[in-house]
């Protein structure tokens, strides 16, 4: 007899996701990932001026506003085959790298760490022992007994109000929680510190982008920042140097706290390197262009089928045909009319809701494929692809993470350990460390370019008569994001956004092959079906953001874990 569990909605994510699992003999034997909201951005932007579309697309999601803005302007620039000024690339690069670091910090500490860290247990910790432990791990200055004792008091006061707020929905005391009270206190203290630190990343985006959460400075053809080294109303040297101090502060936290916490938690849960791999076709796009056309990208992209380095296919530029031709989406198992599999430029968005059909249609999310295969996207894909491409900082930080965990466990950890639930967290920390170096480098390049007398930030786009097509892609915090636009007579004729969480949370595709969430859950051990913490660990490790995969229609749902024998 098997047990069927339904988690609806999965909490501590953006948007509304439902996960169903069949459990036999204490392990997941079948899984379904279902997006419960419909997205309609495609219909909203039809007929609009392509120069304005980014203003709407950044509203798709509350978390990833900047990334949808970037992908949108890139799609129009690609359709027009236009170059943008170097300063504009550097400013965009600084914004996306800072945003990504903020996103990774929030994901680890505020959205997923609570799957591994037992917060109430931290109340029992000895702050002095915690300080000794933390000081052995890292040189971060905020590791005194006093700091941990204060954090513990703060937590206690919070718990005493009876409103656990962000700490509700944790599976406290679950048998799969295995950190000591001291490690739990250390991690929870970093949770509080990360709340402060992520604000600094946000300030970088805010200074360059004019405002957050919705940046104001983008334009098809560049950025709207006027650069003037003395005028207070523009991007001045003073502001740019302030950005530099924020970058420095971020770097200390990323390297001394985030990276080391992930290694420590990875070592404590080393068995989770054998769980949660799923789809091993990894896809990542190149990003952070350092020229006007997007040919020379600082971070390489590529496709790694089966995780096999021998089969690695690079994707080098923002104009790559191999990428453009490989992407398709299927609606065979999604709530849209028909059973087609099509290229994004040729898609239509006509909803057709049925009900939850295990073998039929069961999700608002479409199923993307790359040359017919499901592909995993996100930091793990990004890191493995950059590793395969020989990207030096990625190799250095990946090896450092594996060595750090290896030392704690007294054994060598192979690169293959990354194909796992815990591997996705490790890859995100590696990526954050790489992006910190990128921030430093792009800041320096921007300053040098301005210093050379170049103050240009914008080139006016010219729209031809007739039809042009473009794709803009961006390696976003959750992975490959692509916006596909068809422009006719300077108006949007068709628009499709294939977002990272669509790649990962997609249902079975046209050939009935499961999507990455679904495949990753197969074989996961479940200690207690009533409290399926293990399922959440793997799903959360992808950093689901269904708010942009789809949209909201339902408001009355309370979190339900429904368990029934079938």
């Amino acid at each position: 007899m098997s047990t069927r569990i339904t988690i609806d909605p999965v909490t501590r994510i953006e948007g509304h996701l439902r996960i169903d699992c069949e459990i036999n003999g204490g392990k997941v034997t079948n899984a379904w990932s279902s997006g419960q909201m419909w997205r309609g951005i495609e219909s909203i932007v039809q007929g609009k001026d392509p120069r304005e579309v980014w203003l709407y697309t950044q509203r798709i999601c509350g978390v990833c506003t900047t990334v949808h803005a970037i992908a949108s302007v890139r799609s129009v620039e690609n359709a027009l085959g236009m170059e943008i000024p170097l300063n504009a690339q550097y400013i965009r690069n600084l914004m996306v790298a800072a945003h990504a670091i903020q996103d990774h910090l929030v994901h680890f500490y505020h959205l997923s760490a609570l799957d591994w860290v037992d917060v109430p247990s931290a109340l029992k910790a000895d702050p002095k022992k915690t300080a000794t432990l933390a000081q052995n791990l890292s040189s971060w200055p905020m590791h005194s007994t006093q700091v941990f004792s204060d954090a513990q008091q703060r937590l206690k006061a919070f718990a005493d109000t009876g409103q656990m707020g962000i700490f509700t929905n944790g599976y406290w005391g679950h048998p799969a929680m295995r950190l000591s009270p001291e490690v739990n206190l250390m991690a929870t203290t970093h949770y509080l510190q990360a709340l402060e630190v992520q604000r600094k990343a946000n300030m970088i985006v805010s200074i360059l982008g004019g405002k957050t959460p919705h940046i104001q400075n983008l334009a098809v053809g560049g950025v709207a920042n006027a650069i003037n080294t003395d005028s207070p109303a523009t991007l001045t040297m003073e502001r740019l140097y302030y950005v530099k101090t924020l970058i420095d502060d971020l770097g200390k936290f990323v390297n001394e706290v985030y990276f080391k916490d992930v290694c420590a938690i990875g070592a404590a849960y080393a068995d989770w390197t054998a769980i949660g791999a799923g789809v091993k076709n990894y896809l990542a796009v190149p990003d952070l262009p350092e020229d006007g056309k997007g040919i020379a990208c600082l971070l390489p992209g590529g496709y790694l089928p089966g995780g096999d380095f021998a089969k690695f296919h690079p994707i080098r530029t923002l104009q790559d045909e191999y990428f453009q031709k490989g992407v398709q989406e299927s609606v065979k198992h999604s709530w849209y009319q028909g059973e087609w599999t099509r290229h994004p430029w040729d898609e239509e968005t006509k909803p057709h809701y049925t009900d939850f059909q295990d073998n039929g249609k069961y999700s608002w999310v479409k199923a993307p494929t790359f040359y017919g295969q499901p592909a995993q996207v996100g930091p793990l894909a990004n890191v493995l692809v950059m590793y395969a491409a020989g990207h030096e900082p990625t190799r250095r930080y990946t090896n450092l993470a594996l060595e750090t965990v290896g030392k704690q466990l007294g054994q060598k950890i192979p690169l293959e350990a990354l194909h796992s639930t815990i591997g996705r967290h490790a890859a995100r920390a590696v990526r954050a460390a790489v992006l910190y170096e990128v921030l430093q480098n792009q800041w320096k390049n921007l300053i040098e370019n301005i210093g050379s007398g170049d103050a240009k930030t914008f080139i006016r786009p010219e729209f031809p008569k007739g039809e042009v097509k473009g794709v803009g892609y961006h390696e976003a915090p959750r992975g490959v994001l692509s916006h596909w636009v068809v422009i006719k007579d300077a108006k949007v004729k068709n628009y499709q956004a294939v977002v990272p969480s669509t790649w990962n949370s997609g249902p079975r595709n046209g050939q009935d092959l499961p999507g990455p969430y679904e495949a990753s859950l197969l074989g996961t051990p479940i200690a207690d079906p009533q409290r399926p913490l293990e399922v959440l660990r793997t799903v959360h490790s992808f950093d689901p953001c269904l708010a942009c995969a789809i949209h909201l229609t339902d408001t009355e749902h309370q979190e339900i874990v429904e368990v029934r024998a079938t």
Binding site: R59, G62, Q102, I166, L195, P213, H551, L552, T553, E556
Partner: protein
């Protein structure tokens, strides 16, 4: 005084975007003094934490499922505000609920907290508000202006040679006092 008026909600989903639309309307109708910052927060959550520091008051405007007639405005204050978002009466509770809890945890939560919630009528895909909700935008912004006035900040109407100060007696709608914390506009 340092006050943030934060509109939240998704502009792409009709009445879900009433918070952002209220911010636009405030900018259009009033001269905003330096003590007040208006922000369209969209559907962001923790990303807004940076905006809460050093504020004396936070006024949130959002679509709230109160079960009342479409367009009904309800005012909440103090501890009621996080409770509304925790009870998931707001369609994008997750972000704001986390934001308020996180702000409290690191002492960034402003002392005065007010929420104006508008009962949505239409939550489909689209940039336009429903006529019911669009019809209360004017009154909603006046309520926000009066709230600011009660905090000691005068908002003056634009486009008037000698802008008259706002008073409660200038209202055109019936104000029903439900209890000390709730004002229902119907």
């Amino acid at each position: 005084m340092n006050i943030l008026v934060l509109g939240v909600g998704n502009l792409l989903m009709q009445d879900e975007g009433v918070g952002g639309r209220a911010i636009e309307e405030l900018e259009k109708r009033f001269r905003i003094p330096p003590a007040v910052e208006l922000l369209d927060g969209g559907t962001a959550g923790l990303e807004l934490l940076n905006q809460l520091g050093c504020r004396d008051a936070l006024i949130i405007v959002d679509a709230v499922q109160s079960g009342k007639a479409p367009g009904t405005v309800i005012r909440f204050e103090g501890d009621q505000v996080p409770a509304v978002f925790r009870r998931k009466i707001s369609p994008h509770q997750l972000g704001i609920s986390d934001l308020l809890a996180a702000a409290r945890l690191i002492d960034l939560l402003p002392k005065r907290l007010v929420l104006f919630g508008v009962q949505p009528a239409e939550l489909g895909t689209g940039l336009e508000l429903s006529s019911k909700v669009a019809g209360v935008l004017g009154e909603l912004t006046l309520l926000i202006a009066l709230e600011l006035q009660s905090l000691g900040v005068e908002l003056l109407l634009k486009n008037a040679p000698h802008p008259p100060a706002l008073t409660l007696s200038g209202k055109k709608w019936p104000l029903v006092q439900l209890n000390p914390c709730q004002v229902v506009l119907s």
